[in-house]
């Protein structure tokens, strides 16, 4: 049997992998020491580390991350369930597809951020409006990839099911869903990525907590160190979430 392909990465890879971030930090700190940048517009890496320690100590760092993460998870799961159910039905039933198509095609190009004014009017600036925006951000990637994944399943498998008189339910469980799974997991990765982008955007416009709030708060306090800390959190957590999803995908799709 074939070995699972886990590429062993040598020290050379890791040096290369970390070279650019380290280089950026050195140039950045150097520019600060040389007086080329000013701390009121662009604080040095050392200042960012200081504000990070300050935020860890006063507990604000974790509180804000937690608030944003919970919003993302809630909005994402809501989007996942609805987009998966609607997606499977659109892909399987042409009549349902025709019924849904125009509304979906018109809603899809509207950026979730464009919904923020309405969301605030409908749900206030609390949890509801954030979850609504995240829901919109995550819905379409998952929906479209579910539909595409199912429609791209090779027709020969359906012929096989005819020969073996496979019942409809088994056909969906054993052919449609696993066949579309690689595409669905791609949709989930894009959906979670979008959800994370949306939570930051929604929190920047109207919120009293969360990572996005950290950014807008940092701006009103004229504290670019807080702004940059917030941006780094968005980037780092976005990467971590994507890494987790990639790992889950490898575990789920064992046949590839």
């Amino acid at each position: 049997m074939e070995q699972k392909k886990t590429k062993k990465r040598g020290i050379g890879y890791w040096i290369l992998y970390l070279a650019l971030p380290v280089l950026i930090l050195i140039v950045w700190e150097g520019a600060d020491l040389a007086g080329l940048i000013h701390s009121y517009s662009m604080p040095s890496p050392v200042a960012i580390v200081q504000v990070t320690i300050e935020y860890i100590q006063n507990g604000q760092l974790w509180t804000n991350i937690q608030v944003s993460l919970i919003r993302v998870l809630e909005g994402f799961f809501l989007a996942f369930i609805t987009s998966f159910v609607i997606g499977v039905n659109v892909a399987i039933f042409p009549k349902f597809d025709a019924f849904m198509d125009l509304v979906i095609q018109i809603l899809r190009p509207i950026p979730p951020i464009a919904w923020i004014p309405l969301a605030i009017l409908w749900f206030g600036i609390g949890q509801g409006s954030k979850i609504f925006i995240i829901f919109l951000g995550a819905f379409f990637p998952i929906f479209l990839n579910t539909v595409d994944g199912i429609k791209n399943i090779d027709g020969k498998y359906f012929e096989l099911c005819e020969v073996y008189e496979t019942p409809k339910i088994e056909l969906i469980k054993k052919v449609v869903i696993p066949g579309a799974l690689p595409s669905i997991t791609t949709g989930i990765r894009l959906g979670v990525g979008n959800a994370w982008v949306c939570v930051v955007a929604a929190e920047m416009i109207g919120a009293t907590s969360g990572v996005g709030y950290m950014l807008s708060n940092g701006r009103s306090l004229s504290r670019p160190d807080i702004v940059i800390l917030g941006m780094l959190i968005v980037g780092i957590f976005g990467k971590i979430m994507d890494d987790i999803l990639k790992k889950i995908r490898e575990k789920v799709i064992v046949w590839n």
């Binding site: 020969k156 096989l160 020969v163 073996y164 088994e170 054993k174 696993p178 064992v254």
Partner: protein, 256 residues
């Protein structure tokens, strides 16, 4: 003489597209005796696969009459085992799950049935393997085991060994003959390989293209056990060869 399991009378099949009208099969008449092994041979476009698909119920629009055990063929079923050119195993299911998937509800948990049929094709020990871990020949054997586990009345093989290398091919042909003798199932193989047709079939149906017609039916008697190297094989081979290349005498010409 046993009874006929398949009766084909005045079968004509026309494929119609917007621009084109192609007569794939014209006026086919064929009776197939129960328990026999029939080879259908012809060049590409002679309609041999279409004929097999009609017998298997995978093509249902045609003129004429196609009867299986006296009943009109109206669609595919697990009683008409069909081996495709590709193994058509579901890549996300293991070998045993693939067979289980094909079984009717009441047989799903019949592990003995799965084991027996894997043993029949010589694949005991590969129950938990995924299709991509198998060679082409092994995967096709799983497909054969899958068809046989459903206890078909007839087994239809559509160029099943066409994609395999010469050695694997010969090995599988021998295995197929053994299975045929042991299980006493009527088998029909469609092929473009003259040796394969002669070795497997006790009758060889020769078809010609445009429109697809039966040109001749040859009785083959290679003795028991069948030998590929004997004179009767060579004779049969010469006979079939002439069907396809009758007008061409081989001129001796020297060009230097």
């Amino acid at each position: 003489m046993g009874k006929n399991i398949v009766e084909i009378r005045n079968l004509t099949k026309i494929f119609e597209t917007k621009e084109n009208r192609v007569t794939a099969l014209k006026n086919i008449n064929l009776s197939i005796e129960e328990g026999s092994f029939i080879s259908i041979i012809g060049g590409s476009g002679c309609g041999k696969s279409t004929l097999l698909r009609i017998i298997g119920g995978l093509e249902t629009v045609y003129q004429g009459e196609v009867l299986l055990e006296g009943k009109k063929v109206s669609g595919p079923s697990r009683k008409k085992g069909f081996i495709f050119q590709d193994h058509r195993l579901l890549p996300w299911l293991t070998v045993e799950e693939n067979i289980r998937f094909s079984l009717p509800g009441e047989q799903k948990n019949n592990q003995k049935l799965i084991q027996e049929n894997l043993e029949l094709v010589g694949l005991t020990g590969f129950e938990k393997a995924y299709p991509k871990q198998l060679s082409g020949g092994m995967a096709q054997r799983v497909a054969i085991a899958r068809a046989l586990a459903n206890k078909p009345d007839i087994l239809l093989l559509d160029e099943p060994f066409g994609a395999l290398d010469a050695f694997t091919k010969v090995h599988l042909q021998e295995q197929m003959l053994k299975i045929w003798k042991k299980e006493k199932i009527t088998m029909i193989i469609v092929t473009h390989d003259i040796d394969e047709a002669i070795y497997l079939g006790n009758k060889v149906v020769v078809m010609t293209p445009r429109p697809g017609q039966i040109k001749n039916i040859h009785q083959i008697n290679l003795g028991n056990p069948k030998r590929r190297t004997g004179s009767s094989f060579a004779q049969a081979r010469a006979m079939i060869y002439k069907e396809f290349f009758e007008e061409t005498e081989i001129p001796f010409s020297y060009s230097i």
